[in-house]
Amino acid sequence: MISQFFILSSKGDPLIYKDFRGDSGGRDVAELFYRKLTGLPGDESPVVMVTTGGRRHHDGRHFIHIRHSSLYLVVTTSENVSPFSLLELLSRLATLLGDYCGSLGEGTISRNVALVYELLDEVLDYGYVQTTSTEMLRNFIQTEAVVSKPFSLFDLSSVGLFGAETQQSKVAPSSAASRPVLSSRSDQSQKNEVFLDVVERLSVLIASNGSLLKVDVQGEIRLKSFLPSGSEMRIGLTEEFCVGKSELRGYGPGIRVDEVSFHSSVNLDEFESHRILRLQPPQGELTVMRYQLSDDLPSPLPFRLFPSVQWDRGSGRLQVYLKLRCDLPSKREIPGERVSSARQACPKKAPSPAPSLSKLQPVSGAEQPRAEGRAGGGSPSLGPASGARRLSTLGPFPDGRPRAPRTSQPWALHLGPSSGSGPGQSLL
């Protein structure tokens, strides 16, 4: 049971505010939430917060929020509810708003205030979820999304020199999928398109000698469908796809995942025999399948890391170079990639516990950072992954007595799409 729902911008301005039950003290709750959030000490979790003391009306009100594309989606409740369901609802709302408005962001929300209120009105009544299925909702939603197409330099990049065909022009531009599901009724030229993204997040811990200490792959197949609903779709996976450690299929090494889960609308009748997923996707975005894999990778990593540590005795500086080499075929593309180094090889006597990450920056030889991907997010994206890249960090040692770095110190790398999804690549 939800009392209020509101969306705040990253600065705390209310973009959307809806009070479902009228049992709260009023709209300054949003302000109260933002004050609490910004005033949190570092070790306290911001996921659920409670108001105690002070004014009577706010007492015992729980705030539960998610942060999505730099917006805060917040619900308040005064009951002891299931946190899993509420968080799920919030992320479903984020997806829904994205589906209807094209993408989720401060701009799109404030342009589509009427649409968002209309959606909320149908999704929640008196604080209870009615339906979140795009299919059912589209019968009730009358407002059309206001879409603005900001001018983007990336659109130009698909035009090659002298009109030559570039690599990008063969694939749809990355913004193709970010349009509202309900295209305007007057627009007859609606394309029947389906976007299928395989998004994998790899968390890899590599020892300095190159051996893998920990591998964790989280993958999902996301489908964004603009097809008229009711059309059946069949997705065939390779027949050598094995689930679990013991299963064996085909003659080759096979493709193995530890665990797999499907969306409830997927029909798995043919999955056991032919590895075919049958579904009738509703319009909008849908995660068809999630899978996880850890430790024993059936195939080598798509990249290699060459660390080198140099200690310049004269200047008392430690230079750490991380060279990342991607072994993917050049026709594949990684929309955005983040490399963060979890631990620096830190000598035992280092004056600061670890040189901070901010010192990590691409050095000469690296390509210009190029932001791709749908949302073009603000994360430190380092451009397409093919080819080698080098990162370095410098750690000064003013006391002039650094010890030899511990060679066994592992490196942790986190590689993943920076934001949203895109035509990613997969181990499958």
């Binding site: 301005d13 570092g42 509810v81 899993f84 968080l87 920990k214 964790d216 999630r290």
Partner: protein, 765 residues
């Protein structure tokens, strides 16, 4: 097609919201008058009214200002007029506006009722639903008489959309009434609508009945309803499923056969792709199978996969909530996630609150096989850039050290070598706690200590170091010289607590190494008595001075307390809790807040809601649903304890208990006979019934078995109790301490305690 000025907003308002805190309060209200005037003009303009899009646009602007917090109630009249339109988008916007401002302008809102009532009989079901929903959401007095008939019509509407709205409308109407009068006919109608074709109507009926019958304990789930709901489960969407699973919690199957039939039916929901449904189903399994521990364990094994997936989910919030639940499970089944320890390693980019949770989880799942890897991982965190996280990791290693002492002490000693201020201070504090609980590591700690005094600046760290030097000074060669430095600098010392610690430590060290300490002890005492401004420090100095005058033997008798007490470890890590103790908290906010924090929250709420009626100070509070039936029966057997009123839910922290326990004298000691087997859980539950809380107890089968209990009566008098069971002598020793010496309450407390123990023993034998 639109004049530009219509779409443009005065930029000054947007800019003022948020970026400039001084103007944020004033600006909207100062400016809103002009905006309202302008919008009023636009809404009345017949040209705009004639143009559907322009009209809608102006209304959208009103809504936008409303969201930003401007008072738009001034245009209510014009908005009411705008509601009479065929444009459904415009209708929706106007109704949204009306629902927001109706409480402020009830008289004007009544004008809109006419349009709304007309819409309620519109041929289009969407319009009917919209009108009914909006009408029920007009939160103003006097609207009930207008909405009653439309709601009743709506309940029998042929469109399921309208029925859904009408069913929730019943709850809205009931809550508007404000009194507890329940309309029996309406309730019956709602119960019969549980058989509706539309699944959302069914779920809404449950929600609505729950609200209407709140005072009578909510909607009744009897056997036919429960079975009907179970059969409809697959037709519901995930939200409906999660909610129905929650309602089913209150159904008690009649027989074991029925119970297992239900569990089999629900089995598929444990595999759902929605975490909310999986957790809801898990909770239902745990509650229904409360008498079948193997079923519970089996379910917890099956929920492992979904929980682990949620723990590594992309959504940090979900990840956090899942981690909290993992910790909850680990309290009962310590080995449950041990083979998946790698899933709980932190990655660099995770936010702080997730890392801290993961470190806690790692600490709890450590076992013989993974201890090496976990410690290796934690050691890496100790040098993290974030000092808070590094310190949390060091404390975690300290926690593991109670079981795996040697490895941990070695790691901690290596950390001292880094000579980092924030690391050294935490390591020394960890050492202090460790030496107290695990005396076997004293030697290693004493060797590691020399040299750390250079890197400690904060009060906590200094206190810990000084304590260690005082208590174990005879094993640390340079202890007197380190303390001498502190004595030299005592004038510039800012923390009184450090000075007190220094006094005690130096006096202790003086007892074992008098020659080296005598001179500086004299100087310190002189300083404390003559120059110190802090009263507590001065009193402590005077106290020690007078004590020394009495004679060295007396000093020894008072200061030479034991240097360690491994049994106190019991207070630090509570025994494994049975699954049933938290099953009802699973999939709620309790594990997310933590049980202690939740207790304070609900106490505030309880006091607020029930006013002066709470707290209930009956000696036997209403027992929770988790206490087995046989305990409830015993309530009658217990004698009325007369003047003694024990306060329920007075949970003390282990630290506070320990402090109080050590500071008090035994007020009463007694030995009870005890034969045969012993079940600590039963005892704990029985004690809970009479509002005696268990702070800590040994695991079942430990010899001698110990338990620490606390209770508080309505006058604030604390009773601290130690139970010591020695099976060899077949007797149980009870020692009670009291913070206010009052014999009559003490006697009644002891008689309550005796009765409980006696009853339990009777059952066993």
């Amino acid at each position: 097609m639109l004049p530009h000025q219509d779409e443009k907003e005065p930029t000054s308002y947007r800019g003022s919201c948020g970026s400039c805190p001084v103007t944020v309060r004033k600006m909207p209200y100062l400016g809103s008058e002009d905006v309202v005037k302008e919008l009023k003009k636009a809404l009345c303009n017949p040209h705009i009214q004639a143009d559907r899009l322009r009209y809608r646009n102006v209304i959208q602007r009103v809504i936008r200002y409303m969201t930003q917090g401007l008072d738009m109630s001034g245009v209510f009249m014009e908005m009411v007029k705008a509601s009479a339109t065929v444009d459904i988008v415009q209708k929706k916007l106007v109704y949204l506006y009306m629902c927001t401002y109706a409480p402020l302008k009830p008289d004007l809102a009544l004008l809109a009722i006419n349009t709304l009532c007309k819409d309620c009989s519109d041929p289009n079901p969407m319009v009917r639903g919209l009108a009914l929903r909006s009408m029920c959401s007009l939160r103003m007095p006097g609207v009930q008489e207008y909405i009653q008939q439309p709601i009743l019509n709506g309940l029998r509407d042929k469109a399921s959309y309208v029925r859904r709205v009408a069913v929730l409308g019943c709850a809205k109407m009931h809550n508007l009434h404000g009194d507890s009068e329940v309309d029996g006919a309406l309730v019956n109608e709602l119960y019969s609508l549980l058989r509706d074709q539309d699944p959302i109507v069914v779920v809404n009926c449950l929600r609505s009945l729950e609200e209407i019958l709140k005072l009578e304990g909510g909607v009744v789930i009897n056997k036919p309803i429960a079975h009907h709901l179970l059969n409809r489960m697959s037709k519901l969407d995930q939200w409906g499923q999660a909610e129905v699973l929650n309602f089913l919690l209150r159904y008690q199957p009649r027989s074991e056969e029925e119970l297992f039939d239900i569990l089999n039916l629900l089995d598929s929901f444990l595999k759902s792709s929605s975490p909310g449904v999986v957790m809801g189903a898990t909770k239902l399994f745990l509650i229904l199978a409360k008498k079948f521990p193997h079923v519970q364990t089996d379910v917890l094994v099956r929920v492992k996969g979904p929980l682990l997936a949620a723990c590594s989910s992309e959504s940090r919030e979900l990840c956090f909530v899942a981690l909290c639940h993992v910790r909850q499970i680990l309290h009962s089944l310590p080995g449950h996630f041990s083979s998946h320890y790698k899933k709980f390693f932190c990655s660099y980019s995770e936010p702080h609150y997730i890392k801290l949770q993961k470190v806690e989880v790692l600490c709890e799942l450590v076992n013989d096989e993974n201890v090496q890897q976990v410690l290796e991982e934690l050691r890496g965190y100790c040098t993290d850039v974030s000092a808070d996280f590094a310190q949390a990791a060091i404390f975690a290693i300290g926690g593991i050290a109670r079981t795996y002492t040697d490895q941990c002490v070695q790691i901690l000693t290596e950390l001292l070598g880094l000579r980092q201020e924030h690391i050294t201070t935490v390591v020394v504090q960890t050492f202090r706690d460790l030496v107290w609980l695990c005396p076997q590591c004293t030697e290693a700690v004493c060797q590691a200590l020399p040299g750390c005094e250079e890197n400690i600046q904060d009060s906590e760290g200094k206190q810990a170091l000084i304590w260690l030097l005082g208590v174990h000074g005879e094993r640390i060669p340079n202890a007197p010289y380190v303390l001498e430095d502190f004595v030299e600098n005592v004038k510039s010392e800012t923390f009184p607590a450090v000075k007190m610690e220094l006094l005690t430590a130096l006096l202790r060290l003086f007892l074992s190494r008098p020659a080296e300490c005598q001179d500086m002890l004299g100087r310190l005492l002189y300083y404390c008595i003559e120059e110190e401004k802090d009263m507590a420090v001065r009193d402590r100095g005077l106290f020690y001075y007078r004590l020394l005058l009495v004679g060295i033997d007396e000093v020894k008798r008072i200061l030479c307390s034991p240097k360690s007490d491994p049994t106190l470890g019991l207070l630090e890590d509570p025994a494994e809790r049975p699954v049933n103790s938290w099953a009802s908290d699973f999939n709620t906010l309790v594990p997310v807040y933590g049980k202690a924090h939740w207790a304070t929250i609900s106490k505030c709420q309880g006091a607020e809601r029930c006013g002066p009626e709470l707290p209930k100070t009956s000696s036997f509070a209403a027992s929770g649903p988790l206490i087995p039936e046989d305990n409830k029966e015993r309530e009658q057997e217990l004698p009325d304890s007369g003047a003694l009123m024990l306060v329920p839910n007075r949970q003390l922290t282990a630290d506070y208990f320990e402090k109080t326990w050590l500071s008090l004298k035994v007020a009463h000691q007694q030995v009870l006979p005890w034969r045969g087997e012993f079940h600590p859980d039963t005892l704990q539950m029985a004690l809970q019934v009479v509002n005696i809380q268990t702070i800590a107890m040994s695991r079942a089968g430990t010899r001698p078995w110990k338990a620490y209990l606390s209770a508080q009566d309505d006058t604030g008098c604390l009773f601290l109790t130690e139970l010591l069971l020695e099976p060899e002598n077949s007797e149980m020793q009870i020692s009670v301490k009291q913070n206010e010496a009052r014999t009559e309450t003490l006697n009644s407390f002891i008689s309550v305690l005796e009765t409980v123990i006696g009853t339990i023993e009777e059952i066993k034998s």
